[in-house]
Structures are given as structure tokens and as C-alpha cells.
């Protein structure tokens, strides 16, 4: 597709939309779908048709609006795309009322207040199109300035300039460790090899994180555009998206998006009339957390067991089939189009000194407003949990925020006023990870939580290196003894020794970070460990402590 054809397509789409006076957007991302948003969408479509309004009101499925807890969410917008009202918990039976309210008095009983901090305090870059465009139509993405950044790169910027712009933005990898994206791109770009690859890591394995899923389901073209720009900048011509098989809807929408992009010539050979070629293929994961690790992910794409290998060499030097390979995660790629559209300096003006831009967090657990929020880096943890998240429900007391999944840790109340960015989270012993935030209240036992994550690491360990394979198993056994009240002080000392061993000697990040949940809970909630060991009591009432006689027998 040439630039003229792109503009033509936009004009056609805008023209077609002019006919509509209102649009009713129904969230059809996975969260709302499990609240039966598909039935709501059908009912609304039928109602509009029945009332003969299908020339005036456009009913469409859109991506995630964020507040999953209140789903299915429906939004009415006018011809200028300004929001009239958002409704929550909309079922099929509400269709008549909802359709009748377009441009008129809103249905008070269904209104979802969008002036609350959950919505008002968000700054959307990654999620800018989520909830606005139909993820299954490339035309809508293009009208929303989609593929403009790619066009700009191909026509105006040399590959080195693209890398420079990304470097200037200060963007850091959104998948876990926060490695500077520009530096990674530059390494792959510099590598002397004819064949290079770009891989999108969509193996969102951290339990409690679902932002990548949401982006893929709500705005798949954004990820493709980010990948295409990366390929152009680094000199790659083939891309793979490694997506979890647990996300069937994301896979379906991705495959659909790839087909559409190929159809209009945005992917394929001679993109936009240039000599740039880029094709993308989706590869399915199969239920292995360790495949989030770069070298394990590469093995998996190669059809092998997903075991990591020692680094160096890093994938940027020797990756997929031995070729230089760029691996970024979904959210990282999703940041790329706006950075190239608006410039690296613009992006760098948002966030903190060392963590630029925004971060999408998945709020879950014991918090009122569960769902996705995108906020500038550096927002206070307290603000995220209590203002956007709406605090702890049922009058319970806050205990901790778990970030970073099994590689992260539990952050206690004393750090609520911390500004959230990569470095501050690392300082308290956790990691940013992919941005999952599980809020826990007094009903959670922190030893039990540590045991939960150790069970996770034990069964997700690939088994290749000894410290992780046997160490996680031994640590899990000790934690089981703590939770049933039979652990000895010597065993606690051994637990600490094993934490240090795994951190220092494991082959990959899974083993190295597996001790984090234990270390943080031991550091900040030592009293709970002591209560189990010495007091033979679980303060939260979660663990089943063995009676004294049982132990003796």
C-alpha cells in the first residue's frame, strides 16, 4: 500500500462513519466477554435494527475499557466521537433502554461514573485506542493514526535515526527487567548478519498480569506496527509473535490482524512502495512459564523443550536459529508507534528520571476496582491502590501489594508512599515485572503466599539446572512445614541459605528470582513466620496447623 492509498482508505472510512449520529461501543475483550458481553452486543445490534436505527446508530465491539470488575461495559459516543455516557453491567435485557438513551437522557441505574479517579487519573499511551476502535478492523486502526509511524519511518527516517529516537525516548522493556529498549535495538542493528529476526514476547506468564492480553485483544495492529518499525530499524525481515495458548481470543485477533495487514500491503514484500520486506507469524506457547525467558522462548519457537541456555551470547548476537534476534514484549512494542509519531523527547517528558513514559498495571485481588490502569511512571503506590483502585473492599485492612509475579515480592504498607518505577520497586526487593499488582488484605497469610509462589516455581522450573530443580523443591517442602507449624529454626536458616544459592547460581531468571517472594515476606512479615513456627498459629487463619499430638506421631 502506498501513502496515497492509505489516505484514500482513511477518507473512505471517515465518509462511511459520517452517516452515523451515534456509536454504541461494547467491550468485547476477554474480561467483559466472560460477563457475556457477546450477548449484550447481539442484543444491542438487534434492538437498533428492530427500531430501524441502523443507519443512525453504529453498534460495534471494541477493546478493553479497563474496569473489568463492572463488565460488560458499554459506551455511547456521538458523531464527533465524544463520549456521552458509559454504562456498566449491561446485559441483553437492557438493550432497549440503552439504545433509547443515545443522545437523550442516560439510564441512571446503569451509569458508570467516569469522573472517578480510576478513569480520570489515567494517562493513555499504550491503551489509547482500547475501548475506542474495533480490534477486528484495520480501517479503524488506520483512522486512529495507525501505521502513520511506520509510514514516517519508511519515508523520512534512516534505520539509525529510528533507533536514535527510541533511545532518546528512554523506553525500557516492559516485560520484566526493564532493559533499555534503544540499547537492545542498537545491538541487533549493529550485528553483521544477513538474516535477523524480531520476536514479540506475548507469553504473559506472570499470574495476575493481563495487560498484554488486553492490548492484543483490543489493539493488535499497534503491536504489528511496533514490530514492523523494529524490523526496519534493526534490519530484520521476519517476525514471530510467541503468544500463550491460554489466550485464544488474542491469538484469533492477531491472526486476523496479520491477514488484514498483508491484504493491504502493510506486511509482506515492498511495504508502502519501498524495498522493505517484513512478514509475521504467530507461534503458540503451550503452558510453560519459563518460556518468558528469552533463550527458552527461542528454543520453543524452534520446536524444542523450553529450556534456557547460558547467556552470553545474548539473543541480540545469537538468537533464533543462531541469528541476531530482537525480543521485546507486547507493551514495549505498543509504545513504539506513538514514540515515533510524537518523538522520543515527548515520551521522555513523561515519567521519572530513569523510568520514562507510562506503565499499565493490572489491579487484582482485594481491591475494589479490579482492572487495567495506565498511569505515568512515578505515581505513588498509595494513589494507585487507594485512589484509582478504590481501596480495600468490605472494610478490611490493607496488608501488601504483590508485584512482579513469582519473580517479584510483597510490598508492605510502610512503602505505600513510594513512587512506582523500576528502581524504587527493585530497592524494596521486588521487581516491576510485567505490571501485575495483586492487592492483599488481612485475610491473606504471607507465608501461604510465599508457599503459593514457591509451588509455582517448583512446577514451572524446567529442570535443567540443579539449584532451581532441586532447590525449589526443597524450599517448597520447608515452606509446607512452616505453614503446618512443624518447621524448626534450623530449617528456616536452611531456607535462607537456599534463597542465596538460587539467586546466585541458577542458570536463568526463573531460578534467580524464585526466592524473591520468600525473601520479601521474611523481611517484612517475619512476625507471621514466627507466629507459625513458635506460636503454632496462622494469624490470618489460612493455614491448617497440625495439632501437637499429630506432630509427635
Amino acid at each position: 500500500m502506498t501513502a496515497e492509498e492509505l489516505n484514500e482508505l482513511i477518507e473512505q472510512e471517515v465518509e462511511a462513519n459520517k452517516l452515523f449520529v451515534h456509536s454504541i461501543n461494547v467491550c468485547v475483550a476477554a474480561g467483559c466477554l466472560s460477563s457475556h458481553a457477546d450477548q449484550t452486543l447481539d442484543a444491542l445490534k438487534k434492538e437498533v435494527k428492530a427500531k430501524g436505527l441502523d443507519k443512525e446508530i453504529k453498534v460495534k465491539g471494541v477493546g478493553c475499557m479497563g474496569l473489568c470488575a463492572a463488565g460488560p461495559l458499554v459506551e455511547i459516543r456521538d458523531a464527533s466521537n465524544a463520549a456521552q455516557v458509559m454504562y456498566q453491567g449491561v446485559q441483553g435485557e437492557h438493550a432497549e433502554q440503552v439504545v433509547a438513551s443515545a443522545g437523550k437522557q442516560s439510564v441512571q441505574s446503569l451509569v458508570c461514573d467516569t469522573s472517578i479517579p480510576f478513569f480520570a487519573k489515567q494517562v493513555k499511551i499504550v491503551l489509547e485506542n482500547c475501548g475506542l476502535i474495533d480490534p477486528e478492523r484495520i480501517e479503524e486502526y488506520i483512522v486512529a493514526e495507525g501505521y502513520r509511524a511506520l509510514q514516517k519511518c519508511l519515508q523520512e527516517l534512516a534505520p539509525t535515526k529510528v533507533v536514535e529516537e527510541v533511545t532518546k525516548s528512554g523506553l525500557r522493556g516492559r516485560g520484566g527487567a526493564g532493559f533499555p529498549t534503544g540499547l537492545k535495538w542498537a545491538t541487533v542493528a549493529k550485528a553483521q548478519n544477513k538474516q535477523k529476526y524480531v520476536i514479540c514476547n506475548a507469553d504473559e506468564g506472570d499470574p495476575g498480569a493481563f495487560m498484554d492480553r488486553s492490548v492484543l485483544e483490543s489493539d493488535p495492529h499497534r503491536v504489528l506496527e511496533g514490530m514492523a518499525i523494529a524490523a526496519y530499524a534493526t534490519g530484520a525481515n521476519r517476525g514471530y509473535i510467541y503468544c500463550r495458548a491460554e489466550y485464544p481470543l488474542a491469538v484469533k485477533r492477531l491472526k486476523n490482524a496479520i491477514k488484514q495487514a498483508e491484504r493491504v500491503g502493510i506486511l509482506g514484500q515492498g511495504i508502502m512502495g519501498t524495498t522493505f520486506n517484513f512478514t509475521v507469524e504467530v507461534r503458540l506457547g503451550a503452558g510453560a512459564f519459563v518460556c518468558g525467558e528469552e533463550t527458552a522462548l527461542i528454543h520453543s519457537i524452534e520446536g524444542k523443550r523450553g529450556t534456557p541456555r547460558p547467556r552470553p551470547p545474548f539473543p541480540a548476537q545469537s538468537g533464533l536459529w543462531g541469528c541476531p534476534t530482537l525480543i521485546n514484549n507486547v507493551e514495549t512494542f505498543a509504545n513504539i508507534p506513538p514514540i515515533l509519531r510524537k518523538g522520543g523527547a515527548w515520551f521522555a517528558s513523561i515519567g521519572t528520571e530513569k523510568s520514562k513514559g507510562t506503565k499499565v498495571f493490572a489491579l487484582a485481588g482485594r481491591v475494589s476496582n479490579t482492572g487495567l490502569v495506565e498511569v505515568p511512571m512515578g505515581m505513588k503506590l498509595r494513589e494507585i491502590v487507594f485512589s484509582l483502585g478504590g481501596g480495600i473492599p468490605d472494610g478490611k485492612k490493607f496488608k501488601a501489594v504483590q508485584t512482579g509475579g513469582p519473580s517479584g515480592g510483597c510490598i508492605p504498607e510502610q512503602f505505600l508512599d513510594m513512587e512506582v518505577d523500576y528502581d524504587s520497586i527493585a530497592k524494596v526487593g521486588s521487581i516491576m515485572g510485567s505490571g501485575g499488582m495483586i492487592i492483599m488484605d488481612e485475610t491473606s497469610c504471607m507465608v501461604d503466599v510465599a508457599k503459593f509462589f514457591m509451588e509455582f516455581c517448583k512446577s514451572e522450573s524446567c529442570g535443567k539446572c540443579v539449584p532451581c530443580r532441586v532447590g525449589t523443591s526443597q524450599m517448597y517442602d520447608i515452606l509446607c512445614k512452616v505453614t503446618d507449624g512443624t518447621a524448626t529454626p534450623e530449617e528456616i536458616a536452611m531456607l535462607e541459605e537456599l534463597c542465596d544459592l538460587l539467586k546466585s547460581t541458577s542458570l536463568c531468571g526463573l531460578g534467580m528470582t524464585a526466592p524473591n517472594p520468600v525473601l520479601t515476606t521474611m523481611k517484612y512479615f517475619r512476625n507471621e513466620y514466627d507466629a507459625h513456627i513458635q506460636g503454632k498459629k496462622c494469624p490470618a487463619g489460612v493455614c491448617k496447623i497440625k495439632a501437637a499430638q499429630e506432630v509427635l506421631v
Binding site: 510453560a288 523443550r305 541456555r309 547460558p310 552470553p312 548476537q317 545469537s318 517448583k458 512446577s459 514451572e460 522450573s461 524446567c462 529442570g463 535443567k464 539446572c465 540443579v466 539449584p467 530443580r469 532441586v470 532447590g471 525449589t472 523443591s473 526443597q474 517442602d477 536452611m494 541459605e497 537456599l498 544459592l501 546466585s504 547460581t505 541458577s506 542458570l507
Partner: protein, 240 residues
């Protein structure tokens, strides 16, 4: 990439000793050339290194991370330390983990006296295991006419997998499952004796560090290994 590295000459220090090496050599090979012993378990001369056992970890000045000597290439100016108290401690604990994992009973073992795991324990001064033994209930496969596989003694070093795939070219062995449930298997986890791919060459027997694979008819202490694999690897060539 490796051809350019091979032509580079680098100098480095290992335990304070100045060493010269080619750029495509590992820390382990340079150390051994210079008479510095780094303990290893999964490494085997002639087979691809996988960095799995973590026994050969060394410290490199300027990095907080530890590196597996078997699979880390030397670089110019590198300062390697191979035997610090911290490394010794880690190595011992890793050995303890290995002993606790399965059922290693030396007294009745055909490899008693010729076992690399046992030798490593003596070398590192490991006198007792502080961790509880897991005592898993594992299978012994004696269906092969000449050899026996005993999961109880396997340390998952993958030497059998590598020698069979890389040197013999049969790829009879692989690892199934994962984590603590990982096991070495033949074909589709079928009895070894029924294997359609095994050539009965016996290479796996001779690279096994313990007696997870051994010859039939041997009693305690009689299983002595021959080392011919590295020679085979070195002499491999495409004929014509």
C-alpha cells in the same frame, strides 16, 4: 562469528595467573590448559556444553553474576577467580541438593569407587548432607540385553542425551517432563530393550558420571568407564 573469535588472541588472569588463549575458548578449557582445576559434572570433553550442573561456576571481576566456566568464552582482560570460599560453599550446597534428590547409595553401587558424584563429594569435602533426602520411588529398566538404566542414580547431566545425539547420531535419549519430575527416557518413554533407534553402541554407558546407566553383569564397584568419546569427537570428519 566463531571464526573471527578463533583468530583473536586474548590475555586474561585466572586465579592470578596470566594466561593466553584463543577468543573461542571457554574459561574451563583455558584454566585446564594452565593447570588450574575447576570442578565439573555435566561437562564432558567432546560434547556440547550446557551449563546445567552449576558446579563449574566462577567469579569474574567486575560482574556481580557468576559464570559457568564450561560455557563462557574468555574475553580480553578478564580476571577470573575459580575457588573463592563463596564458590566452595555454593558447590558443596549444590552437591547436597544432588545427593538429596534421588537415591544415591554408594555401598551397593556398581560404580562405587569410579563414580564422579562420589569423587566430587570427596574432593569438595562434603561429609554429610544437611537437607532431607527426598527418597523418590523410581524405576530401574533392565529390558536392554546388555545395559541397565537406573533412574535412582541419575543426576540429569544429559551426557547420555548429548553423546547419543551428537556422536552416535541416534538420539535415543532425551529428557521428559520438567522440574523435579524430569527423567531421562529412551524413545517414547518405552522400555529401553524395545527401542527401535538404539544401536547398543554403549557410549551412554561410558559417559554416565554415576551408575544411572551401567553394563549388566557388574556387581558393586565393578563398573569402570572408558573414555573414548572426546577422541571420537575430535576425529569426526566428512569423508570426501
Amino acid at each position: 562469528m566463531n571464526s573471527t573469535l578463533a583468530s583473536q588472541i586474548v590475555t586474561l588472569k585466572i586465579d592470578g595467573k596470566d594466561c593466553g588463549a584463543r577468543g573461542d575458548e571457554t574459561i574451563l578449557s583455558v584454566a585446564r590448559e594452565n593447570g588450574i582445576d575447576i570442578p565439573t559434572l555435566c561437562h564432558y570433553d567432546g560434547l556440547t556444553d550446557i551449563g546445567a550442573c552449576r558446579i563449574c561456576l566462577v567469579e569474574v571481576k567486575g560482574s556481580p553474576k557468576l559464570f559457568a566456566a564450561c560455557s563462557t568464552l574468555v574475553t580480553e582482560g578478564m580476571e577470573v577467580s575459580t575457588n573463592s570460599p563463596r564458590l566452595q560453599r555454593y558447590r558443596k550446597t549444590i552437591l547436597e541438593l544432588l545427593f538429596s534428590e534421588r537415591n544415591h547409595v554408594c555401598a551397593v553401587c556398581v560404580s562405587n569407587g569410579h563414580c564422579e558424584l562420589q569423587a566430587m563429594a570427596m574432593k569438595l569435602g562434603l561429609t554429610h548432607v544437611r537437607l532431607p533426602y527426598r527418597y523418590p520411588n523410581l524405576k530401574v529398566d533392565a529390558t536392554h540385553t546388555r545395559y541397565v538404566q537406573d533412574d535412582n542414580r541419575c543426576i540429569l547431566c544429559q551426557r547420555c542425551v548429548r553423546v547419543c545425539a551428537e556422536i552416535e547420531g541416534a538420539h535415543v535419549w532425551d529428557i521428559m517432563g520438567r522440574g523435579i519430575e524430569a527423567r531421562a527416557i529412551t524413545d517414547l518413554n518405552e522400555p529401553w530393550g524395545a527401542s527401535t533407534s538404539c544401536t547398543s553402541c554403549g557410549k551412554c554407558v561410558h559417559v554416565c558420571p554415576t551408575a544411572a546407566i551401567f553394563e549388566k553383569g557388574k556387581s558393586a564397584g565393578e563398573m569402570v568407564k572408558r573414555s573414548f568419546v572426546s577422541e571420537l569427537a575430535a576425529k569426526r570428519e566428512v569423508y570426501e
